[in-house]
């Protein structure tokens, strides 16, 4: 580890079970504030499952059970006294497939601030929507069509709309679950540029299948395999001098 950054997510001995099946095996990891961390690994290695433990989206799966502690910004998020609503307002998420609500672009972005009561009047809400759309690099394309349906946008624009929707509630962490896997290379590059901008304000954790993408955008990379965290460190180190032979095999394309 070459640089020391204050960490915002601290996971200790986290294991996740789906019924009897163990999907995540005793993972401990600290993730730094205002940086991009990439989770890589072959399909089914548990990286998405692990990502979803950080905002408790796994709660929606009945058979899912979690052991260990996940501390976000100093609070144990699996403590019985914690409500998921403030947690998810703090830890936003962008999904693999763009999933804008079938409402207008404006309503898509305004939804989060509205349910949390972040704006006291219409003009404040307008400002939040504008700021979020600007933050997601969508303002210029969407400013004249705020009343149009969010689903009328192209795939890349829809994904940026989902990012705008997420940052409209001003979270501290944004989880991205393969955000570019359904997008073409140009849209992907737009999103990647956007991520680098966002990392100035937000902590971003991204799950990706593309090692080039991990290498391009992230400062730190974690390699998962069969529910285990094999290696975690600076992206440069991992891609240039992987310490573990499994990581090296994956990165060089021998397994995956």
């Amino acid at each position: 580890m070459t640089e020391t950054v204050e960490s915002i997510v601290n996971c200790k001995n986290v294991s996740v079970y789906y019924g009897q099946k163990k999907a995540i095996n005793n993972i401990s990891i600290d993730i730094g504030r205002r940086s991009i961390t990439a989770f890589i690994g072959p399909s089914g290695c548990g990286k998405s499952t692990f990502l979803r433990t950080i905002n408790r989206m796994n709660d929606t799966i009945d058979s899912c059970r979690i052991e260990g502690t996940v501390i976000v910004d100093g609070k144990d998020i699996y403590d019985p006294s914690i409500d998921v609503v403030p947690l998810r307002a703090k830890v936003g998420m962008v999904f693999q497939k763009p999933n804008p609500f079938p409402k207008s672009i404006y309503e898509n972005v305004a939804y989060g601030p509205r349910i949390h009561g972040l704006a006291s009047n219409k003009s404040e809400l307008d400002d939040i929507v504008e700021k979020a759309l600007k933050g997601a690099g969508l303002w210029n394309e969407a400013r004249d069509r705020l009343d149009e349906s969010g689903t009328s946008l192209s795939g890349g624009q829809q994904q940026r709309l989902c990012i705008a929707r997420t940052i409209a509630v001003e979270p501290q962490i944004i989880l991205m679950d393969e955000p570019c896997s359904a997008l073409d290379p140009i849209a992907t590059s737009n999103i990647e540029d956007l991520m680098s901008d966002l990392a100035k304000e937000y902590t971003i954790i991204i799950v990706t299948h593309s090692m080039q993408q991990a290498a391009r955008v992230s400062q730190k990379t974690a390699y998962f395999h069969l529910g285990n965290l094999i290696e975690y460190g600076d992206t440069k180190e991992i891609f240039v001098r992987p310490k573990d032979s499994q990581t090296e095999a994956y990165i060089s394309g021998k397994i995956g």
Partner: protein
Amino acid sequence: MAQTRTEKIVIDGLKARQTKERNFKFFGIFAVALAIAFLAILLISICSKGLPGFFQYYATFEVELTRERIDPRGDMSDQSLFEGEAKKIINEAVLEFTGAKKRNEKKAARSLLSNGSDLRLVNFVQKNTDKVNSRQKIKFALDDDADSFFRGYIKKQTPEKQRRLNDIEINYLEKMNEAGIITYEISDYLFFGSASRNAEMAGIKGAFIGSMLTLAVCFLIAFPLGVATAVYLEEFAPKNKFTELIEININNLAAVPSVVFGILGLAIFINLFGMPRSIPLIGGLVLALMTLPTIIISSRAAIKAVPPSIRDGALAIGASKMQATMHHVVPLAIPGMLTGTIIGMAQALGETAPLLMIGMVAFIVDIPGSITDPGTVLPVQIFMWADFAERMFVHKTSAAIIILLLFLMIMNGGAVWLRRKLERRW
């Protein structure tokens, strides 16, 4: 060109495959054609019997509306008009026209107009108070036997003893026809009359309003309850043995014969709670019980069809489960829920058996004014009319069936329209 082994085998077997496909297609077309033929026969038979049911024969007579005779108390109240001599005035007009002198002639002349003619005269006076003390031409419905004569069901050639009209009566009817006072018009009794033992006066208004009231009660109870149940079971209920049992039971309830719900209603609402019989409130409650499974099942299907990504999207920005459900899932599922509800309501509209059990088959002349007034519903009215022997009831039965079918078509059309309007893509 050399044939490969695979090619040869495939080509050899091709004929059998094509025959199979052709046969299957033929059976499909045959089945559809059969269905269409039966539908056509049904429609033709109902329409040919039912369309004449929308019309009936009227005779116009000029009557002297003397104030003292019609309204002896002079206050135009129902009681006063009831005590008046409306019947006598009409009979005088008929006797004058026919020139009946002898006792049997007078009897014959008096029997030609509907029993409800005096009521018609009273209604006319109530609506046109300014026309009192003048001679007015008023249209009276013919008695159903006289009506049948003009429809050709009673023929003059038949020996007098074998027909329901005697020679004198037929003579008078022919005389009226020659004088041009007989008209064949859209039946106002059908639309504005209610249950009556006199075929010419029977109408569907009471049953129609009864149906509307019953359906309103049914909808107000079944829709919110059904949707709430579906939302709870689909979104909030834990998945365990108990909810599984509830689920199986709801599915089974959809297959329970409707008459059983009638017995349930009779046992619980009437016997246990002591509510009155024959009222639309109970009818609606019973039909709500019957419709609930349909609504719950279709609502659950509609909720299941909402992509989970929408729910996840809402949850991920911090919506509570309730907010994600109410703001996103339910609005997207509403078209499907409404379709299921309207199909359930259409089913309820056509239901007879359970309503017979709770006494909505009673002969009720009054038009129900509220859900606690005794009444009946359209299908039960049709059921009762189908039981009567008079020729005219056959036509009125078919006419009422046409009205019921139209009503159903409007409801189904409404369902399609609502679906189109509310459906959103995602």
